[in-house]
Subunit: 466 residues, 2 copies
Amino acid sequence: MTDAADAADVVARLRAELGDRVDTSESARLEARADKSGHAASGLPLAVVHATSVADVQATLRIATATRTPVVTRGAGTGLAGGANAGEGEIALSMRRMDRIVEVRPDDLLAVVEPGILNADLNAALAEHGVWWAPDPASRAISTVGGNIATGAGGLLCAKYGVVRDAVLGLDLVLADGRLLRLGHRTVKGVTGLDLTSLVIGSEGTLGVVVGATLKLRRLVPGTVCTIAATFADVRSAAEASAAVTASGAQPAIMELMDAASLRAVHALLHLDPPTPGAAQLTIQTDGAAADAEADAIAAVLRATGGTVALTHDPDEGERLLTIRRSMHPAMETLGTTLIEDVSVPRSALPAMFDEIARVEREHGMPIPTVAHAGDGNLHPNFVFDGEVGADGTIEVPDAVWAAADDLFRSALRLGGTLTGEHGVGVLKRRWLADELGDDQWVLQRQITRVFDPLGILNPGKVFAA
Amino acid sequence: MTDAADAADVVARLRAELGDRVDTSESARLEARADKSGHAASGLPLAVVHATSVADVQATLRIATATRTPVVTRGAGTGLAGGANAGEGEIALSMRRMDRIVEVRPDDLLAVVEPGILNADLNAALAEHGVWWAPDPASRAISTVGGNIATGAGGLLCAKYGVVRDAVLGLDLVLADGRLLRLGHRTVKGVTGLDLTSLVIGSEGTLGVVVGATLKLRRLVPGTVCTIAATFADVRSAAEASAAVTASGAQPAIMELMDAASLRAVHALLHLDPPTPGAAQLTIQTDGAAADAEADAIAAVLRATGGTVALTHDPDEGERLLTIRRSMHPAMETLGTTLIEDVSVPRSALPAMFDEIARVEREHGMPIPTVAHAGDGNLHPNFVFDGEVGADGTIEVPDAVWAAADDLFRSALRLGGTLTGEHGVGVLKRRWLADELGDDQWVLQRQITRVFDPLGILNPGKVFAA
């Protein structure tokens, strides 16, 4: 933390090097405090630096090191764990303007990009070359590739097409002291030294600033997409059916599960007839050369497990069915204030995890509408509460909600799962990190961050702080 | 290094805790000096510890830490870079007897295994469950899963099915001081803290001892396998054809390239008619639901690029065609002593890399028969020389060969490639490591190893030593 005189000096130094890329407007500094979790840092950052080049990032970090000023790197601010929120005495380093596509090589199935490009913008450009970058967080229209890398993002397609760490070949990283490292390879295979590319993926701004990424691409998937919607009497049956689909050997591109409360809220939002009380739904898509046959096989599994199945080969009708899943977040907003959680369990444990969610709802007396990426075992329980959204758009999560979340996290860990499948630790989950890692590993990870950042100026208080 | 009196003390301490799992026979110690590269460490290790449990590994490392004795972890000794060779004053810690399959979960597509199991034995057992572990180094019948993890192994199927780092969910790691850490997840998604699982993969025994692995499995691929053999007038044409196949969007399971010298040697070994002088060959397999259609499309690309194409849908005939590729190493042994290299380049650079190999052959006046995993851009140039194989089975690579290899490595780096695609750095490539990483990254990686191993007792002199 820097006192007032020092703060003025830091801003003056930044301005001397970076001119009008240093933004001290109140609106920019207010925006940099928060993300889509609703959580906000205390106080306002000193300034927002809008980097437009690697040299800008290096200059910012040299000044930060010289003045011992914390730096919080940000993309589009769509995080759900508070990991990129900048507060009192900190520099918010925005990468949003570094959004160029430097190179696309369909022949080598790679692209080199700057981190500030939006995931959806990148994929629109790649489609012209017949390729795509597979990570597809639900936020892809509004989140940056750099943010996806910082959190190790997932999405809907992960069971079939992988997560971010499966889709990055190399990273250019500026260290806390301003030095630039080039990590990884442009090749499919490469085992020279330690795999620092993977280490940086999901490190949430604690190891350095990603200023360039060499991405591993896939060919656009040819053929049709088939969509299945299947309704079950209750959520446990739907979860068992999704586990049966996975166990059958089918590989859907998408397999999403919505529980009764989620379904009810979405139907109300979209002015659809109310669903059967208690009913839960699976929405499944198959793609590729065998999409039709695979959809038929999956439909048979779903019927055998008691589902009422609708199957369409029509893309428009398929998109309409998926709209119900995609309307989850707006529907939650109609119910109250929400804390969106992100546990992940082995796929066979999905039914047991839904039992645990029902138990937590009962014991803590609060509704927890839940959707799951059932194809990969990642659940998003939404803790709904009567909370005030502050004037600055931020929320305060009541202790009773955290107590229920704590109960849920421990259930996920007991079932062989993890605290966070794709949102990251940020500030919201740091107090549970050592529960999952164990104290020895927590300390060792902390020491590794210090190799990259000896002064501890990179995103302090995030991930590892107790 | 430990002097004679200390050495006796270390062995005595090991024996007191581990009894007859401590092997001081000359034969065991001689064997632990070398790997399949032909390189051997100087001197003999103090002892070979045949660990049979996690507790054995922890006991060994506690004694090693207390006595500051270096530990070299070994699997089956099939490495090609000298990375697991144990010498004077060192403990060789063999994991070969820890070879149990602890758990197979086809429903969750994961298995938990001990590191000493052979890759092929694991896959034989997994096949009964309808699943497999995709990494398939050519050594899979004789190499351990732990060794595959330590080197970050690749193989023939990588372009389609991934390398080791795509196929491991979690690792149990014993640190230099004997503490046990559990890294990673049992879930498809998981982003709690730093991805230490990926960091350990390919770290060649410098970070800890892997005592358990949670592996990510795939369903056995249904359907037929189609095999294509295509002959080209010269190696450059074959390389261009392979790049054209990749660029066409086809995804063969296997795409192997053999140059004229390799083909000639294999034909001689197998008593086949000599190939057309100068001719090079691609051997390609397609699999899965669309295998037939994909094989036809690939054959069309190969014919359009000037290849003479044979295509079979018969598995036996396909296996016969692949035998030619599989006979490469025995064929090389008929030519002289070989140094097997392992550069990797972006796939579009394969033709240029073959030009470079031809240049190095000319300028250094030595034959370099080369095979390539053309589907992923990984080449194995074989430097053939008149070398003596010593009484202990080890070889001395002449300086002139290293000079040619140096020239070749620099060409690969210039083409956007890497020193080692799948064999690792070990001792044989450590002097080039900083050329690829840059000095800053080299130092930072070295510092990371010290977080895991503050005393520097884990595989000293490997990977990072100058």
